[in-house]
Amino acid sequence: MAATPLLELRGIDKSFGPVQVLHDVGLSVYPGEVTALVGDNGAGKSTLVKCISGIYSIDAGTVTFEGREVTVHNPRDAAALGIEVVYQDLALCDNLDIVQNMFLGREKKHGIVLDEATMEEMAGETLRSLSVRTVKSLRQLVSSLSGGQRQTVAIAKAVLWNSRVVILDEPTAALGVAQTAQVLELVRRLADNGLGVVLISHNMNDVFAVSDRIAALYLGRMAAQVKAADVTHSQVVELITGGRSGNLGLPPERPSDFIDITPGEVK
């Protein structure tokens, strides 16, 4: 496996007012690999992603990209580095069409006039590279697409830009069996093309199907980051639900703000 991570986070803290959501989180993303980011609801996965992409500012910690320490103030900075995010809530504009959404914020222009033809060509080629063979029209409004199609547009939007790292927040959450398989295949293909891919998912089957590494967040702390081949299904589930599994995971002492009310388990 590649030795140096493409993207590396160390010691990330993030609070919303008095609530600290991320504590000293570290994460390494390697090129050509899918790193699954798992954790229970509210563990802080989406928050971590938004910190990486510059939507939230971090309170402490460092972000290293290709060995260089970087600061990401806003989504544009992240995009300039080649970090693209497909959000849980997709972030598409229903009132715009497929091409317009894919180029949103990064439109191609001739002088001051939008270069619609070039954008449409690039959008078509990108969709094709993701094995999309038929759409009714590239100028169809996004509001008229199915869940899987919208997800595909969102992913296509992320890979349009020669991106280096693509982060997908629960890309299969709302999809049926066939569309899930397609999206996972797409995720694997991104990594095989040399990108660093971060996949957030609650579905262990999906996680084990495509990922090379698994990073488990527990109550805002990184419990463990391990190779997928080295752990079992149930170990990952323990990491997610308890923060530790055997000698993996967080040290036994509880986080200071953690009150354990489980009877008979106090250490």
Partner: protein, 417 residues
């Protein structure tokens, strides 16, 4: 039934034909995407009703020309409001903002004796400053636009009264300013304007169509492009024909014919803003912020700056509305831009098809909606109905338009289109 064709990147898409294009259009309408169709149909029905009931007066060339002069202020404010409504915001102060800007121009022209080429830009600058203040309050302080502009509505009413020193009426004598919304083009210039306008429209349509075809992208069926150009040509030429008929009440004394000067002024702004919204990055970003603010922010679009800019455009357009109404009345008084002007302007934008929920609307909607409002106002006056009846009817039409908007939205959510 549907054949497919290859487009960019070798993707298969439905090949559009004239038949499928029309089918698609009706499918969209059924799906709730009505655009300006209700307004156009409404306009036809109203013209038919008033035309039959008062064919002598309502259908006269004089009345037709009058409609443009009467509607200018509302149409300009409505064009500006489209930008604000596209973001799902509102500007209730645009009416009095136009009054204040008109007063600034009138005062500079008369009290200070300055020429029009100083007074008009000063009025426009006033509009821009007003918009900046409103926009910053909404975007940076996060005060709802409804409240900010309601306060400004009251405030500007006071500013207008103060500028007019407690209610004086200032008359202007500047011939250039007066000509803007009273004068007409010569018959020859009227036709030149119509021909240039139609030729420009045709060139833009054909140029775009050819550009897409030459790059192997799916283009509209050529028949549709031709039909659209023919439609615009028919409309422009028949309107010009009527406007170049003699319409003076007493032909022996003066001759009155030609397109009102305000028509090219409206058309120029219609073209500019349509271009900005449809063909520039800025316009794309306005739609994006209106459609999904969070998505726009994540795409790196400066949401606050876009929000401020739409208020600037709105107040700027209101200033031109103010200039034109002062030109029309040759004077300004404490009620210029007051009474029903703002409500008619919002009504025009919404009746034309601009969504109150943001993200949907075009500049042409303001013009079409403005036409509906003015035809109601004008036709009902000619029918001898009093203001009470007019307000009730206009209110009902606005309510109908807002219902169409809300129902269309529900329908779109239900059919997922």
């Amino acid at each position: 039934m549907t054949t497919t064709t290859e487009t960019a990147g070798g993707i298969q898409v439905v090949k559009p034909t004239v038949a499928s294009y029309i089918r698609d259009y009706f499918a969209r309408v059924r799906g709730g995407d009505l655009g300006t169709l209700p307004a156009v149909l409404g306009l036809l029905v109203l013209v038919l009703i008033f035309g039959t009931a008062r064919s002598e007066t309502f259908l006269s060339a004089l009345n037709f020309a009058n409609l443009f002069n009467q509607s200018a202020q509302i149409v300009f404010i409505a064009m500006g409001l489209v930008f604000v409504l596209l973001l799902g915001e509102i500007d209730l102060s645009a009416g009095f903002a136009s009054g204040v800007c008109g007063a600034v121009m009138a005062i500079l022209l008369t009290t200070h004796g300055l020429p029009w080429y100083v007074a008009i830009p000063a009025a426009m600058a006033t509009g821009i400053v007003i918009g900046l203040v409103l926009g910053v309050l909404v975007a940076k302080l996060g005060i709802p636009s409804f409240v900010v502009t309601l306060a400004a509505f009251l405030g500007f009413q006071g500013v207008l009264l103060t500028l007019l020193e407690g209610g004086k009426n200032i008359s202007i004598t500047d011939e250039f300013v007066k000509s803007l919304n009273n004068g007409t083009l010569s018959v020859r210039d009227s036709w030149i304007f119509a021909v240039i306008g139609v030729a420009g429209f045709a060139a833009a349509q054909l140029f775009r169509w050819r550009g897409r075809v030459s790059r192997n992208l799916v283009a509209e069926p050529f028949g549709i492009v031709v039909a659209r150009i023919a439609g615009v040509a028919l409309l422009a030429f028949s309107a010009t024909y009527v406007l170049t008929l003699e319409r003076a009440v007493n032909k022996a004394i003066t001759s009155l014919k030609g397109t009102p000067i305000v028509v090219p002024i409206i058309v120029v702004f219609l073209v500019i803003w349509t271009f900005v919204l449809a063909r520039t990055t800025y316009g794309r970003h306005v739609y994006a912020v209106g459609g999904n603010t969070e998505a726009a922010r994540r795409a790196g679009i400066p949401v606050d700056r876009i929000r401020i800019s739409v208020f600037v455009i709105c107040s700027f357009m209101a200033s031109i509305g103010g200039i034109l109404v002062v030109s029309r009345q040759s004077s300004v008084d404490p009620n210029t831009g007051g009474s029903n002007i703002l409500l008619y302007s919002v009504g025009a934008a919404v009746i034309g098809g601009t969504s109150l929920f943001g993200g949907k609307g075009k500049i042409i909607y303001a013009v079409i909606g403005g036409a509906v409002i003015i035809v109601i106002e004008n036709g009902m006056t000619l029918l001898g109905l009093n203001s009470g009846v007019k307000f009730i009817f206009t209110g009902l039409v606005l309510l109908a338009a807002a219902s169409v908007d809300a129902l269309a939205r529900r329908r779109a959510a239900a059919t997922g289109s």
